[in-house]
Amino acid sequence: MATEFELVIVTPFGEVFRGEVRSCTLPGFDGLFQVLPNHASLVSLLEIGPLKFEHKDGKIRYMALNGGYCEVKDNSLKIMAESAEFAEEIDVERALSAKQRAEQRLRSKHADIDIPRAKLALAKALNRIKIAQLR
């Protein structure tokens, strides 16, 4: 039995990560779920949220995931996201200003404000701020 599986994280800007991991926790469509070696084949949508995985050598890493989907097949997990940042790489200042911008937009009761979009931006910013603290 394999005790590891391959994890590949792909974004429109290229491959962010590829390596052997022991486990991976993902923000699934209805809540967090974990993928372990020899998981059944699965396609799942992913929400904005934290991604956590344990390296072959036991090191744990966190990423801020910006929605997308994942595919499990033949003991390999592929994550396709529009953006995925390691906790260490998050620009906290940018995230904070994005949060303020989104909150401001939600507060102003203008008719031409795209509420779902502002909420999405807020969720992304909050997620990144939270993950950044896990570095």
Binding site: P12, G14, L42
Partner: protein, 289 residues
């Protein structure tokens, strides 16, 4: 006899123009390299998305549950015309504008509106009898993925509010640094690429949530990547076209400097000869007297 000083001035001015075109060529080459890197980087992501969509649509079949795939009778068309923000890149903008203009004529019975991406398209079409719906200009210099997201969202909004029945992109495809092809591509309604469907003997997947929800979520993502691809292609093609145009301009300037230098030397020779013959004839005249 041309004034020697004027020729000198002319040569200098051609030289300095040549320096500018040379610099522009170098800048375009650097930007082209960056654009090509971006194109390479997004390919795996795009391929995976297309494969998943093709696979899911093959499983579900044609259904009205996927609004973005529903074909409606075409009464209103949105043409997204991608030009550059800047000129000095050969026939790049001209080719697109001409093709877009033709495309409008190809829909005689249908209402056509334009979404102009890039300033050069706007400069041309604002003085023409066409309906401009939306524009997005002056962003290619600092192109990033959010621009693609913004354009796609605008298109999706227009489309989903039952306003348009068909969306097409007209853009320059990047073939190589010296070759660009004008492409007209259907964007919406969405058509999956069938050749990507894998053989049926593969494993059963669990789907979380159901296939339709996944498709409805993934297709807009795919469209964003498509827009991103088109912007990158157009940007790379623009830099390639500019590079070629500036190279030609540099060569022409070189040729011109060469011609002018010969002309300058000849004129100088002629001037000296005249002067000498004047002196000699003057001396002759003195001797005789």
């Amino acid at each position: 006899m041309a004034n020697l000083r004027e020729i000198r001035k002319r040569i200098d001015s051609v030289r300095s123009t040549q320096q500018i075109t040379k610099a522009m060529k170098m800048v375009a080459a650097a930007k082209l390299r960056k654009a090509q890197e971006n194109i390479l980087a997004f390919r795996p992501y795009s391929y995976e998305l297309r494969e998943l969509i093709a696979h899911l649509t093959a499983l579900i079949g044609y259904t009205a549950e996927i609004p973005l795939m529903v074909k409606r009778p075409v009464q209103k068309v949105l043409l997204v015309v991608v030009t550059a923000d800047r000129g000095l890149c050969g026939a790049f903008n001209h080719n697109i504008i001409r093709r877009a203009y033709e495309r409008v004529q190809e829909y005689p019975e249908t209402e056509v509106e334009l979404f102009l991406v890039g300033r050069k398209g706007l400069e041309f079409f604002k003085r023409r009898p066409v309906t401009i719906n939306t524009t997005k200009i002056n962003f290619f210099n600092d192109l990033n993925f959010n621009d693609a997201v913004e354009i796609t969202n605008t298109i999706l909004n227009l489309y989903q509010n039952q306003y348009f029945d068909r969306v097409e992109f007209i853009y320059n495809e990047f073939k190589s640094a010296v070759q660009q092809n004008v492409i007209v591509e259907q964007f919406l309604p969405f058509v999956p690429d069938e050749e990507l469907v894998k053989s049926p003997e593969q494993v059963d997947f669990l789907y979380e949530p159901d296939k339709q929800t996944i498709l409805n979520e993934v297709i807009p993502r795919h469209l964003r990547v498509q827009t991103w691809r088109i912007l990158l292609e157009s940007n790379a093609a623009e830099q390639g076209a500019r590079m070629t145009a500036m190279e030609n301009a540099t060569d022409n300037a070189e040729e011109m400097v060469h011609q002018l230098t010969i002309f300058y030397n000849r004129s100088r020779q002629a001037a000296i000869t005249t002067e000498i013959s004047e002196i000699v004839s003057g001396a002759e005249a003195l001797k005789e007297s």
